[in-house]
Amino acid sequence: MTGWFNAHFVSMVDGVAYGLLLFTLAVGLSLVFGMMDVLNLAHGTLYLAGAYAAYALSDGSWLGLVIALAVGLVVGLVGGGLLAAAVAPLQGRGHLDQAALTLGISLIAAEVMVMLFGAEVLPTAPPAALGGSVSLLGHTYPVYRLAFIGIAAVLAALVYLAFERSSVGALVRATVADRDMVRAMGVDTRKVLFGVFGFGAALAAVGGVLGAPIIAPGPGIDERVLVLSLVVVVIGGLGSVRGALLGALLIGQVQTLGVALVPSYAPFLLFGAMLLVLALRPQGLFAPGRA
């Protein structure tokens, strides 16, 4: 048992890193989808924008990283606000139109980024201080990923606490459960939408800045990230932060430990896992109750 554990220890740790990265991406998507029934397919593009910001600005120093984070945050907030505004006229027209619009926007944005940054995958280096590897229970593991786990865990905890314990979080949860009731209470749900959209987008972009050394920016990455986020959201249940967190950690393990265990089935693991969950519980593992 310990031999097996030893052999796969690194994969499990890496799975946590990967899972937390997916959480930063999925939580915004889950909230917006669950709350306002808005299918935002431009979500992966927000990650990509953040990752490109990291590539361009993060030159190995701490200052570079901070600047990249600030830029990523702004880009995320602005991007989220713009997306919310773009989607607003489509109220009541259903998922398909939102899908078409947001996918169209993501195609345009992706092409613009290709024109700015070129069409290659751009490997991004973390800050020099975090560049090396460290020994973890006898195994070598990159320092940056450990640091990432720490930061992302703190971020996840903050998001979770804000969602579950604060009054703003209560408002958001109420809007997910019964939007009309909240509106009847006199709250402008449009402001809540914009707020959650912006927050989710900012988180995705920041995830991009921090995650660039793990998933580097390039053409097609937005699609891959989008699909991963969708899988996490569907598994975890729409509108649930807890679901997004646990779904993300699960998928993180599938993508690392799972691949290490059965490398020849690597491409099938992700969707196989999702199908399994959907077959057993079509609404997701932790779907919040809906009125």
Partner: protein, 394 residues
């Protein structure tokens, strides 16, 4: 009440379509193309301009252009027009681009092609339309009896085959195999094992990573580390090579498990991106910029003047492709040359003087050439592949 607009629009579209017929001949009942009609020779340059292999595409474009610039934009004494098409990174994108070159741009010759997957997809197209393809990189082992397809690069299993016996002698234990899961990766490992097994080598395991999607190699590297192998043979190129080498270092395999690979792993721009993670990696390649001959010296100089970088094997093969076309077009009559005569002339070329040395055609349309073992070392404050010894001729 009117829907007058809609039929009007349709009629306008139909009229426009008929008007367009003035621009091109129809495919049915249209006039046939005149062969050898004079004017510039159209050369299609099919290389990746996006995706994981973009840097290779840039090298090949630059290598081809260096030759053209040295010869006043003429090959065989005739003006040439180079039409660029993006091969992309999958078999379909490559085929779509090849279709466009052959059917719409109506080129006389095509050169380039980085990915073996693309090569497999376009063989049919070139054989049926009888347009010669002078490939300057991709060379699947299955391509043995094509009439119109030539390669100035190598055959996919040769870098591996060149290394196999050497590694079997050097390594005192088992070897782990990790390669990208497509034609080229499979060919490389097969070639390596051919000479490796014959020399008594021991295999730990053989794993292929999904291509082109894999960027996180951690699970595969962990398995390699815990397998107890003494050395590892890999095949990756372009963007994937950068990630692989960096993660090889990050997860502690560098210095623990000797890393052998086909030369593409550390060739060109990827070496700068890999940085110190690449130190000590051994590779096999048919060319290195520090080879000592006259043509190489002038080629390196011209290439560096143009791009600011040292030439890679991709650039060199593309340069040779231009040279081959130069000789062939001249032999085929220059202005009067057409695709058929150019193809025949290519086959009759006796030997090609190249920055890698002189080579001749093999029976299947690839070069017979010397292979070199290189190691990544620090040179003049930077990193470079340094030739350590020759590995023989293939």
């Amino acid at each position: 009440m009117t829907a007058r607009r809609t039929p009007f629009l349709i009629a306008a579209a139909a009229a426009g379509a008929l008007a367009l017929s003035a621009c091109g001949g129809g495919t049915l009942g249209g006039g046939e193309e005149e062969a050898g009609s004079g004017g510039p020779i159209k050369i299609g340059l099919l290389v990746p301009q996006s995706g994981v292999y973009k840097s290779l595409g840039d090298d090949m474009k630059a290598g081809f252009e260096v030759y053209l610039e040295e010869h006043d934009n003429q090959l065989g004494g005739v003006e040439v027009e180079v039409i660029l098409a993006d091969e992309g990174e999958t078999a379909d994108s490559g085929k779509a681009a090849a279709d466009k070159l052959v059917k719409q741009d109506e080129v006389d010759v095509v050169t380039g092609v980085v990915s073996s997957a693309v090569m497999n997809g376009v063989v049919d197209l070139f054989e049926t339309s009888k347009i010669p393809l002078v490939g300057s990189n991709a060379s699947p082992t299955t391509l043995t009896d094509a009439t119109y397809i030539w390669r100035t690069s190598y055959v996919n299993d040769q870098p591996g085959e060149a290394l196999g016996a050497y590694v079997a002698e050097q390594v005192d234990g088992s070897v782990y195999f990790l390669a990208a899961d497509y034609q080229a990766g499979l060919d490389e490992v097969t070639g390596f094992k051919r000479s490796f097994d014959a020399a008594g080598g021991e295999t730990a395991d053989e794993v292929y990573t999904p291509f082109p999607g894999t960027t996180n190699f951690q699970p595969f590297l962990s398995n390699a580390k815990s397998s107890g192998a003494e050395a590892l043979f890999s095949f990756y190129a372009g963007g994937a090579a950068v990630e692989f080498v960096k993660q090889y270092d990050q997860f502690g395999l560098l210095g623990e498990i000797d890393h052998y690979s086909a030369g593409f792993l550390t060739e060109g721009g990827v070496l700068d991106a890999q940085g110190e993670s690449a130190l000590g990696t051994f590779t096999a390649m048919n060319y290195n910029f520090d080879l000592d001959n006259e043509l190489n010296a002038s080629f390196v100089e011209a290439y560096e003047a143009k791009t600011g970088l040292k030439p890679t094997t991709y650039a060199m093969a593309s340069y040779d492709a231009a040279h081959v076309l130069d000789l062939a077009i001249e032999a085929a009559g220059g202005e009067d040359a057409d695709s058929e005569s150019i193809n025949a002339a290519i086959g009759e070329i006796e030997e090609v003087e190249s920055p890698r040395g002189t080579w001749t055609w093999s029976e299947i349309g690839t070069p017979v050439q010397t292979w070199y073992l290189r190691e990544v070392q620090e040179v003049d404050g930077g990193l470079a592949n340094v030739v350590i010894q020759e590995l023989g001729e293939l």
